[in-house]
Protein backbone atom coordinates (compact mmCIF):
# COMPACT_ATOMS: atom_id res chain seq x y z
CA UNK A 1 0.00 0.00 0.00
CA UNK A 2 1.15 3.56 -0.58
CA UNK A 3 2.66 5.51 2.24
CA UNK A 4 -0.50 7.56 2.75
CA UNK A 5 -2.15 4.41 4.04
CA UNK A 6 -0.53 4.83 7.42
CA UNK A 7 -2.12 8.23 7.86
CA UNK A 8 -5.62 7.43 6.75
CA UNK A 9 -8.41 7.36 9.33
CA UNK A 10 -9.46 3.91 10.50
CA UNK A 11 -11.63 2.03 8.08
CA UNK A 12 -14.36 1.67 10.69
CA UNK A 13 -14.53 5.41 11.24
CA UNK A 14 -14.74 6.10 7.51
CA UNK A 15 -17.48 3.56 6.93
CA UNK A 16 -19.54 4.58 9.94
CA UNK A 17 -19.31 8.25 8.93
CA UNK A 18 -20.39 7.44 5.39
CA UNK A 19 -23.24 5.35 6.74
CA UNK A 20 -24.50 8.27 8.80
CA UNK A 21 -24.27 10.57 5.79
CA UNK A 22 -26.22 8.10 3.67
CA UNK A 23 -28.95 7.69 6.25
CA UNK A 24 -29.25 11.46 6.49
CA UNK A 25 -29.38 11.77 2.70
CA UNK A 26 -32.10 9.13 2.43
CA UNK A 27 -34.26 10.41 5.24
CA UNK A 28 -36.18 12.92 3.10
CA UNK A 29 -37.07 10.22 0.57
CA UNK A 30 -38.46 8.02 3.33
CA UNK A 31 -40.29 10.90 4.99
CA UNK A 32 -41.87 11.95 1.69
CA UNK A 33 -43.59 8.57 1.55
CA UNK A 34 -44.16 8.33 5.29
CA UNK A 35 -42.09 5.17 5.62
CA UNK A 36 -39.64 4.45 8.43
CA UNK A 37 -36.21 2.97 7.80
CA UNK A 38 -37.34 -0.37 9.20
CA UNK A 39 -40.53 -0.15 7.17
CA UNK A 40 -38.46 0.33 4.03
CA UNK A 41 -36.20 -2.56 4.99
CA UNK A 42 -39.25 -4.79 5.31
CA UNK A 43 -40.71 -3.69 1.98
CA UNK A 44 -37.34 -4.23 0.36
CA UNK A 45 -36.91 -7.75 1.73
CA UNK A 46 -40.46 -8.77 0.78
CA UNK A 47 -40.00 -7.30 -2.69
CA UNK A 48 -37.18 -9.79 -3.23
CA UNK A 49 -39.28 -12.73 -2.08
CA UNK A 50 -42.28 -13.46 0.15
CA UNK A 51 -41.34 -14.90 3.55
CA UNK A 52 -42.85 -17.75 5.48
CA UNK A 53 -42.06 -16.52 8.99
CA UNK A 54 -41.51 -13.22 10.70
CA UNK A 55 -38.33 -14.57 12.24
CA UNK A 56 -36.87 -15.22 8.78
CA UNK A 57 -37.79 -11.71 7.72
CA UNK A 58 -36.18 -10.26 10.83
CA UNK A 59 -33.00 -12.20 10.15
CA UNK A 60 -32.94 -11.06 6.53
CA UNK A 61 -32.92 -7.40 7.53
CA UNK A 62 -30.64 -7.78 10.54
CA UNK A 63 -33.28 -7.05 13.14
CA UNK A 64 -34.61 -8.83 16.18
CA UNK A 65 -37.93 -10.60 15.66
CA UNK A 66 -39.50 -8.58 18.47
CA UNK A 67 -38.37 -5.36 16.88
CA UNK A 68 -40.23 -5.59 13.62
CA UNK A 69 -43.66 -6.32 15.05
CA UNK A 70 -44.71 -2.70 15.36
CA UNK A 71 -43.44 -2.10 11.84
CA UNK A 72 -45.42 -5.04 10.48
CA UNK A 73 -48.53 -3.87 12.33
CA UNK A 74 -48.30 -0.49 10.68
CA UNK A 75 -47.55 -1.80 7.19
CA UNK A 76 -50.47 -4.19 7.45
CA UNK A 77 -52.73 -1.42 8.75
CA UNK A 78 -51.84 0.60 5.64
CA UNK A 79 -52.53 -2.45 3.45
CA UNK A 80 -48.95 -2.49 2.17
CA UNK A 81 -48.29 -6.07 3.24
CA UNK A 82 -50.37 -9.19 3.75
CA UNK A 83 -49.78 -11.25 6.87
CA UNK A 84 -51.90 -14.33 7.31
CA UNK A 85 -51.54 -17.54 9.28
CA UNK A 86 -50.25 -20.48 7.24
CA UNK A 87 -53.15 -22.97 7.03
CA UNK A 88 -50.67 -25.82 7.35
CA UNK A 89 -49.08 -24.47 10.54
CA UNK A 90 -51.16 -21.77 12.08
CA UNK A 91 -48.29 -20.57 14.27
CA UNK A 92 -46.43 -19.00 11.36
CA UNK A 93 -47.42 -15.91 9.38
CA UNK A 94 -47.09 -15.80 5.62
CA UNK A 95 -45.79 -12.40 4.56
CA UNK A 96 -45.94 -10.72 1.18
CA UNK A 97 -46.32 -7.32 -0.42
CA UNK A 98 -49.70 -6.14 -1.65
CA UNK A 99 -49.73 -4.46 -5.08
CA UNK A 100 -49.93 -1.13 -3.25
CA UNK A 101 -46.94 -2.15 -1.16
CA UNK A 102 -44.90 -3.02 -4.22
CA UNK A 103 -45.85 0.24 -5.88
CA UNK A 104 -44.82 2.24 -2.84
CA UNK A 105 -41.57 0.32 -2.59
CA UNK A 106 -40.70 1.09 -6.18
CA UNK A 107 -41.38 4.79 -5.65
CA UNK A 108 -39.37 5.06 -2.47
CA UNK A 109 -36.49 3.11 -3.91
CA UNK A 110 -36.35 5.37 -6.93
CA UNK A 111 -36.06 8.40 -4.65
CA UNK A 112 -33.41 6.71 -2.54
CA UNK A 113 -31.39 5.82 -5.63
CA UNK A 114 -31.53 9.44 -6.72
CA UNK A 115 -30.13 10.55 -3.38
CA UNK A 116 -27.39 7.92 -3.61
CA UNK A 117 -26.51 8.92 -7.14
CA UNK A 118 -26.10 12.51 -6.03
CA UNK A 119 -23.53 11.36 -3.50
CA UNK A 120 -21.77 9.11 -6.01
CA UNK A 121 -21.88 11.63 -8.82
CA UNK A 122 -18.48 13.10 -7.97
CA UNK A 123 -16.80 9.77 -8.76
CA UNK A 124 -15.54 8.65 -12.11
CA UNK A 125 -17.51 5.82 -13.64
CA UNK A 126 -14.58 3.46 -13.16
CA UNK A 127 -14.19 4.34 -9.47
CA UNK A 128 -17.91 3.99 -8.92
CA UNK A 129 -17.95 0.52 -10.42
CA UNK A 130 -15.04 -0.67 -8.32
CA UNK A 131 -16.47 0.90 -5.19
CA UNK A 132 -19.87 -0.74 -5.56
CA UNK A 133 -18.38 -4.09 -6.44
CA UNK A 134 -16.01 -4.08 -3.47
CA UNK A 135 -18.79 -2.92 -1.18
CA UNK A 136 -20.98 -5.84 -2.18
CA UNK A 137 -18.06 -8.18 -1.69
CA UNK A 138 -17.21 -6.94 1.79
CA UNK A 139 -20.72 -6.32 3.07
CA UNK A 140 -21.75 -9.53 4.85
CA UNK A 141 -24.90 -11.39 3.86
CA UNK A 142 -27.44 -11.96 6.62
CA UNK A 143 -26.91 -15.37 8.26
Amino acid sequence: MPDSDRDRPDLGALVVRLGRALIAAERPALAAHDVSMWGYAVLSALADEPMRTQAALARAIGADKTRIIGTLDELQERALIEREPDPEDRRVRLLRLTPAGRQLYVSVRADIRLAEERLLSELTLADKRVFLRVLQRLSPEPD
Copy 2:
Protein backbone atom coordinates in the same frame (compact mmCIF):
# COMPACT_ATOMS: atom_id res chain seq x y z
CA MET B 1 -23.74 1.74 -15.08
CA PRO B 2 -24.04 -1.93 -15.91
CA ASP B 3 -27.38 -3.63 -15.80
CA SER B 4 -26.55 -5.37 -12.51
CA ASP B 5 -26.70 -1.98 -10.84
CA ARG B 6 -30.47 -2.10 -10.77
CA ASP B 7 -30.45 -5.27 -8.71
CA ARG B 8 -27.84 -4.34 -6.15
CA PRO B 9 -28.93 -3.69 -2.57
CA ASP B 10 -29.25 -0.07 -1.58
CA LEU B 11 -25.96 1.67 -0.90
CA GLY B 12 -27.12 2.59 2.59
CA ALA B 13 -27.82 -1.04 3.47
CA LEU B 14 -24.44 -2.16 2.17
CA VAL B 15 -22.52 0.50 4.04
CA VAL B 16 -24.40 0.04 7.29
CA ARG B 17 -23.90 -3.73 7.16
CA LEU B 18 -20.20 -3.30 6.51
CA GLY B 19 -20.00 -0.83 9.36
CA ARG B 20 -21.53 -3.35 11.74
CA ALA B 21 -19.12 -6.04 10.55
CA LEU B 22 -16.16 -3.71 11.08
CA ILE B 23 -17.27 -2.76 14.57
CA ALA B 24 -17.64 -6.44 15.43
CA ALA B 25 -14.20 -7.21 13.97
CA GLU B 26 -12.58 -4.42 15.96
CA ARG B 27 -14.29 -5.14 19.25
CA PRO B 28 -11.72 -7.76 20.40
CA ALA B 29 -8.84 -5.33 19.78
CA LEU B 30 -10.56 -2.70 21.91
CA ALA B 31 -11.49 -5.17 24.62
CA ALA B 32 -7.93 -6.48 24.79
CA HIS B 33 -6.81 -3.02 25.84
CA ASP B 34 -9.91 -2.25 27.89
CA VAL B 35 -10.86 0.73 25.75
CA SER B 36 -14.39 1.59 24.63
CA MET B 37 -15.18 2.67 21.09
CA TRP B 38 -15.69 6.25 22.25
CA GLY B 39 -12.51 6.04 24.28
CA TYR B 40 -10.61 5.00 21.20
CA ALA B 41 -12.20 7.77 19.18
CA VAL B 42 -11.01 10.29 21.76
CA LEU B 43 -7.47 8.91 21.83
CA SER B 44 -7.42 8.93 18.05
CA ALA B 45 -8.56 12.54 17.78
CA LEU B 46 -6.10 13.73 20.41
CA ALA B 47 -3.27 11.80 18.78
CA ASP B 48 -3.81 13.95 15.68
CA GLU B 49 -3.73 17.17 17.65
CA PRO B 50 -4.41 18.45 21.16
CA MET B 51 -7.74 20.23 21.54
CA ARG B 52 -8.59 23.42 23.29
CA THR B 53 -12.19 22.59 24.24
CA GLN B 54 -14.23 19.49 24.89
CA ALA B 55 -16.86 20.76 22.48
CA ALA B 56 -14.31 20.81 19.67
CA LEU B 57 -13.25 17.29 20.51
CA ALA B 58 -16.85 16.12 20.55
CA ARG B 59 -17.44 17.67 17.14
CA ALA B 60 -14.31 16.06 15.75
CA ILE B 61 -15.50 12.59 16.62
CA GLY B 62 -19.16 13.15 15.76
CA ALA B 63 -20.44 13.00 19.33
CA ASP B 64 -22.48 15.26 21.54
CA LYS B 65 -20.45 17.26 24.05
CA THR B 66 -22.46 15.78 26.92
CA ARG B 67 -21.79 12.28 25.69
CA ILE B 68 -18.01 12.24 25.99
CA ILE B 69 -17.78 13.48 29.57
CA GLY B 70 -17.89 10.02 31.12
CA THR B 71 -15.32 8.85 28.61
CA LEU B 72 -13.01 11.76 29.42
CA ASP B 73 -13.45 11.12 33.14
CA GLU B 74 -12.33 7.54 32.71
CA LEU B 75 -9.39 8.30 30.40
CA GLN B 76 -8.19 10.96 32.81
CA GLU B 77 -8.60 8.58 35.75
CA ARG B 78 -6.36 6.12 33.95
CA ALA B 79 -3.82 8.88 33.23
CA LEU B 80 -4.21 8.45 29.47
CA ILE B 81 -5.17 12.07 28.86
CA GLU B 82 -4.50 15.41 30.52
CA ARG B 83 -7.39 17.79 30.99
CA GLU B 84 -6.65 21.07 32.66
CA PRO B 85 -8.31 24.48 32.72
CA ASP B 86 -6.79 26.97 30.32
CA PRO B 87 -5.13 29.67 32.47
CA GLU B 88 -6.23 32.29 29.95
CA ASP B 89 -9.88 31.26 30.00
CA ARG B 90 -10.65 29.02 32.89
CA ARG B 91 -13.94 27.86 31.39
CA VAL B 92 -12.24 25.72 28.78
CA ARG B 93 -10.30 22.50 29.30
CA LEU B 94 -7.06 21.88 27.44
CA LEU B 95 -6.93 18.27 26.29
CA ARG B 96 -3.95 16.19 25.24
CA LEU B 97 -2.62 12.66 25.38
CA THR B 98 -0.14 11.64 28.06
CA PRO B 99 2.81 9.54 26.88
CA ALA B 100 1.00 6.50 28.26
CA GLY B 101 -2.10 7.51 26.31
CA ARG B 102 -0.14 7.81 23.09
CA GLN B 103 1.51 4.47 23.67
CA LEU B 104 -1.84 2.78 24.30
CA TYR B 105 -3.31 4.43 21.22
CA VAL B 106 -0.49 3.14 19.02
CA SER B 107 -0.96 -0.40 20.34
CA VAL B 108 -4.73 -0.42 19.90
CA ARG B 109 -4.51 1.09 16.46
CA ALA B 110 -2.02 -1.56 15.35
CA ASP B 111 -4.44 -4.29 16.43
CA ILE B 112 -7.35 -2.55 14.73
CA ARG B 113 -5.37 -2.22 11.49
CA LEU B 114 -4.62 -5.93 11.63
CA ALA B 115 -8.32 -6.73 11.90
CA GLU B 116 -9.07 -4.38 9.02
CA GLU B 117 -6.36 -5.89 6.88
CA ARG B 118 -7.84 -9.33 7.42
CA LEU B 119 -11.13 -8.07 6.05
CA LEU B 120 -9.47 -6.31 3.12
CA SER B 121 -7.11 -9.16 2.34
CA GLU B 122 -9.48 -10.78 -0.13
CA LEU B 123 -9.24 -7.74 -2.41
CA THR B 124 -6.72 -7.16 -5.12
CA LEU B 125 -4.24 -4.40 -4.39
CA ALA B 126 -5.78 -2.25 -7.10
CA ASP B 127 -9.31 -2.69 -5.76
CA LYS B 128 -8.15 -1.96 -2.24
CA ARG B 129 -6.50 1.28 -3.31
CA VAL B 130 -9.57 2.48 -5.16
CA PHE B 131 -11.86 1.46 -2.34
CA LEU B 132 -9.91 3.30 0.34
CA ARG B 133 -9.49 6.37 -1.83
CA VAL B 134 -13.19 6.56 -2.66
CA LEU B 135 -14.14 5.95 0.93
CA GLN B 136 -12.02 8.87 2.09
CA ARG B 137 -13.53 11.01 -0.63
CA LEU B 138 -17.15 10.18 0.25
CA SER B 139 -16.83 10.03 4.01
CA PRO B 140 -17.73 13.51 5.24
CA GLU B 141 -15.30 15.49 7.39
CA PRO B 142 -16.64 16.63 10.75
CA ASP B 143 -18.06 20.18 10.51
